[in-house]
């Protein structure tokens, strides 16, 4: 049997009892990558020798008696986490040759836990996109249907897990970048509270929203990843001064009589028809299992998408000002400084990145100071207050993760950015409020998975994970994606 198809419990048991080694698991993943990834394009950079060396080190640690839920488990790393001496592109041409001299806090902690970092996974350039089509290293494809998008921006991470090339991934979520691809690829996508995981070494898109998140085949593995990377970090001033929560061994919560809020505006939003039906079925199954479902109204969420885009684009324009070709990344030769910068940026940024820089620059420009950005910040404060209020009534909130299943790859077709941005409708609210949220596979329509989003109060990850484990056990497990051969 191919070791890749072991579930988490069986995998951990095999490792503990010495029935398989991390080297064997890593070899199985590397072989699968070699076979499947030319079609899927989930990885930008792979260093097989380094992965095997990490696996041997993990096997030695286990032989010395060490144990950790992630010890020896092969994982993908979204290509915006800086890895010392390993190319980190952020999916962008301008960083094609960037080799960081330092390691991100999150990947350093994963290494400490003994996880095997297989390689750097594909993403929309600078995490700007919901489909992974804006990667400068080619689009990633959805293992459930190779003509469809895996979602974005962490598309490579989700696709690698769906195609069983890795058991988990560390990725980032700004407005849904972990949860949307998790939904489209049938994985678990877990974004903890803003400030739970250090951002040091994560290449910034929108700093006040960016948060490391985990993708995995199941809730337990996603929880173990966040448990390993969470906790205070003196290198990130916005990281909470709280110890890492204990998440990996949390038992499932009791569902009977659990109070859960159902966000009416999001279940009633314009949606792919089959999806709307599937979400209603899911709610009925939950009610049957004894959940106490409360209808919650959050009209404030109407402004979530525009507020999100104003804030994210303003911060993105500022964060991307450093890419001038002078110190790192790809520089274009030119006659003078002005032209080096101009040509480096013109050649190094794709259309979507340029669109967002220009929009963000406009938002912050002359005449706009009293306008868009402060309005968006006010809307953000109102959304945050409304979500906090709702969470005091019911400790958990439910919504669809996306208004649709995985969309077809548009490739050369001209895209309507507003339509594309609409995919983040459900996920940006919790991002603006900095709340922890998780997306679980809940149904399939036309053979494609859908995700259910569960939202919790700030730093209530333990409650969220316990509940998510119970829901996960209630819903049907997904088969192997039909787009890939076993």
């Amino acid at each position: 049997m191919d070791l890749r198809h072991l579930d988490t419990a069986a995998l951990r048991q095999s490792l503990r009892q010495g029935q398989c080694s991390s080297r064997e698991l890593t070899t199985a993943c590397l072989t699968a990558i070699q076979r499947l990834d030319p079609d899927i394009n989930a990885f930008i950079t792979i260093d097989p020798d380094d992965a095997l060396a990490q696996a041997d080190a993990a096997d030695q640690r286990r032989a010395r008696g060490e144990d950790h839920p992630l010890l020896g488990i092969p994982m993908a790393v979204k290509d915006l986490f800086c890895t010392r001496n390993l190319r980190t592109t952020c999916g962008a041409r301008i960083l094609e040759k960037f080799i960081p001299p330092y390691e991100s806090t999150a990947t350093a902690r994963l290494r400490q836990a003994g996880a095997i970092l297989l390689g750097k996974s594909n993403m929309d350039a600078f995490a700007m996109g919901s489909t992974n089509e804006h990667s400068d290293f080619g689009p990633c494809r959805n293992p459930w249907d190779l003509q469809r998008s895996p979602g974005g921006s962490s598309g490579g991470s989700a696709a690698a897990i769906a195609a069983r090339m890795a058991w988990g991934a560390i990725a980032s979520d700004t407005g849904g970048s972990v949860r949307v691809p998790a939904a489209y690829c049938g994985c678990v996508g877990f974004k903890p509270t803003y400030g739970r995981v250090s951002r040091y070494g994560m290449i910034a898109f929108a700093s006040s929203l960016d948060q490391a998140g985990a993708l995995a085949r199941d809730v337990t593995t996603a929880a173990a990843i966040i448990e390993a990377v969470a906790g205070a970090d003196p290198a990130d001033a916005t990281c909470a001064q709280r110890p890492a929560p204990s998440l990996s061994a949390i038992p499932p919560a009791a569902l009977a009589a659990a109070k859960v809020g159902v966000i009416q505006e999001l279940f009633a939003a314009p949606m792919e028809p089959a999806a709307a039906e599937a979400y209603q079925d899911t709610l009925q199954r939950l009610a049957k299992a004894g959940l106490e479902l409360h209808n919650i109204h959050l009209p404030e969420l109407q402004t979530a998408l525009p507020a999100y885009h104003v804030i994210a684009m303003a911060e993105a324009a500022s964060n991307l000002a450093r890419y001038d070709g002078l110190r790192f990344g790809q520089a274009r030769a030119a006659a003078d400084l002005h032209h080096i910068r101009r040509q480096s940026r013109a050649a190094g940024f794709n259309r979507e990145v340029k669109r967002r820089i220009i929009t963000g620059t406009y938002i912050l420009s002359a005449g706009q100071q009293a306008g868009l950005h402060p309005k968006a910040m006010a809307a953000r404060a109102a959304i945050t207050a409304a979500l906090h209020r709702a969470l005091r009534t019911t400790p958990l909130l439910l919504s669809p993760t996306t208004p649709r299943s995985a969309p077809p790859l548009l490739l050369q077709a001209p895209e309507d950015p507003i339509l594309t941005y609409h995919q983040d409708l459900m996920t940006v609210g919790p991002s603006l409020a900095g709340l922890p949220a998780i997306s679980l596979p809940c149904a399939r329509i036309h053979q494609r998975p859908l995700g259910l989003q569960i939202i919790a109060a700030p730093f209530a990850e333990a409650t969220l994970i316990a509940f998510a484990r119970a829901i996960e056990a209630l819903l049907d497990p997904l088969p192997l994606p039909c787009g890939v051969t076993p």
């Binding site: 915006l80 952020c90 303003a314 911060e315 500022s318 890419y323 001038d324 110190r327 420009s365």
Partner: protein, 479 residues
């Protein structure tokens, strides 16, 4: 025609005396080889994040207290964006709407009169990298300076002449050096000033404002502002238009050069800094800064005059040199004779530089106190004392001057100069008697001989002292 009034406001960038940078952990090393002292954070490498240096905040608070500024309990950081090769991140982290400190003031003296200049605000910000012209065709960037902590002190436009501006800046420099906020080395750019100038008719609104960038000496500030005031008056007199302009001062040519049209703040696309939480200042922070604040020049001068009864001239000179003042206080604890100590420390005896700079004296407090005691009790000329102090200086055992004197045994016969000094001292100690002797009251000569013999000690030669007294009576009386 009525005259023009000049309005000058200054923005002063002061380098804080911290060991490390404002937002990253590397040490600040003056004159290090280019780009040898820069962490990835200072280079703005992707994924790096700023963290605030607590000591820089402490020094900014000291400055705020020294300038009597209102300290804001919460202040925030902002990004000021512009593309320039010396700005690694494409923005500078500074404070915009919510600076660490608000209004205050500084008193200063200019052309013999006291003035007060209102301070508008103080904010924290990071320095930029430095452009180096390597040859006529090549420009390098040294990132060692990138991220060095600065405070910017902004004054109200209330300085009324270039001379006032320069004198204000001198007083500010003195105040901040005293407060330990900055090392204040002007040649290393620790204090750089942007000067804004506009003209107005009395009672009317100010005219167009122009800014002269990056002035790093008091003299340049006065020269550049004088040139700018002349330029504006000249244009206005001929009916020529004035536009808001940013200028630079070329010292070699003694000329202003227009750099660019002046930006308004909207051009900088300010954004609240999402990587740094708001800065909260507690009562403890303020108390700790206040406690660390050494006395100001004015406070020192008052102490010297009131507690130590020094004359105004000596008090002012001593107060102006914090390190000499510190040595004075330490020696005074051992030998509480302020006049003698002031004479010793301010005269040429212990100074290597004719007393123009603030340097710690080369001897320890106990040695200085002992030297003062010798000066008061022994017949030693300044030449002899200087020789003795030189010996102390070069002796690794750091002996007391009196120990050295004792080791030398019965001293060599005192020189006529030593004895002249001795007679002068005795006369100064007995002003009434000396005046009467000078007036011809001969019976006091014996009294004086006795005093002088006592002061000269056992080895004295009465004939030589009698000769010295004779010379003193023939010399001109002191004014």
């Amino acid at each position: 025609m009525t005259h023009w009034e000049t309005l000058i406001g200054l923005e002063v960038h002061v380098q804080l005396a911290t060991r490390t940078k404002l937002f990253s952990p590397e040490a600040i090393i003056p004159n290090a080889p280019p780009n040898s002292a820069c962490h990835p954070i200072s280079l703005g490498l992707p994924g790096t994040l700023p963290t605030l240096n607590g000591h820089a905040v402490h020094l900014a608070l000291r400055a705020a207290i020294a300038l009597g500024c209102h300290i804001h309990p919460v202040s925030t950081f902002a990004r000021k964006s512009y593309f320039y090769p010396d700005l690694p991140k494409g923005y500078q982290i500074t404070q915009d709407h919510h600076p660490i400190a608000g209004p205050g003031q500084l008193r200063f003296t200019s052309q013999g009169r006291d003035h007060t200049c209102p301070i508008t605000r103080i904010h924290l910000e990071e320095d930029t990298a430095k452009r180096l012209q390597l040859d006529p065709h090549t420009c390098g960037i040294d990132h060692n300076r990138a991220g060095i902590p600065l405070i910017e002190i902004v004054t109200a436009p209330s300085l009324s002449s270039p001379q006032h501006a320069a004198d204000f800046l001198r007083a500010l420099h003195r105040c901040l050096v005293d407060a330990g906020v900055t090392l204040g080395h002007l040649d290393q750019g620790h204090l750089r000033c942007d000067a804004n100038l506009s003209l107005r008719r009395p009672g009317q609104a100010p005219g167009v404002r122009c800014e002269i960038k990056n002035l790093n000496s008091f003299r340049f500030v006065a020269q550049a502002l004088t040139a700018e005031a002349d330029r504006q008056r000249h244009r206005l007199a001929r009916g020529l238009p004035l536009t808001p302009t940013t200028l630079s001062w070329n010292h070699a040519r003694q000329a202003l050069r227009a750099m660019r049209a002046k930006e308004d703040s909207a051009a900088y696309r300010f954004l609240p800094e999402p990587d740094l939480p708001p800065l909260t200042i507690t009562a403890e922070h303020i108390a700790s800064a206040r406690q660390a604040l050494p006395p100001s020049t004015t406070q020192r001068e008052e102490t010297l005059r009131q507690n130590f009864a020094l004359n105004p001239h000596d008090a002012q000179r001593l107060a102006n040199y914090p390190q000499v003042y510190a040595a004075f206080c330490a020696a005074h604890d051992i030998y509480p004779h302020p006049q003698t100590l002031a004479k010793l420390l301010l005269g040429g005896l212990l100074r290597r530089d004719n007393g123009t700079k603030d340097q710690p004296p080369p001897l320890q407090a106990r040695q200085i106190a002992d030297a003062a005691r010798l000066l008061d009790t022994q017949a030693l000329s300044s030449t002899s004392l200087r020789a003795l102090l030189q010996q102390c200086l070069h002796d690794p055992n750091q002996p007391l001057p009196s120990e050295l004197l004792a080791q030398q045994g019965p001293s060599a016969p005192a020189t006529p100069a030593d004895l002249d000094a001795l007679v002068c001292r005795v006369a100064a100690a007995h002003p009434t008697e000396s005046a009467r002797l000078r007036a011809g009251e001969e019976k006091l000569r014996a009294y004086f001989m006795g005093r002088c013999m006592a002061a000269a000690g056992a080895h004295a030669d009465p004939q030589a002292i009698a000769a010295a007294l004779h010379r003193w009576l023939r010399s001109a009386p002191p004014p």
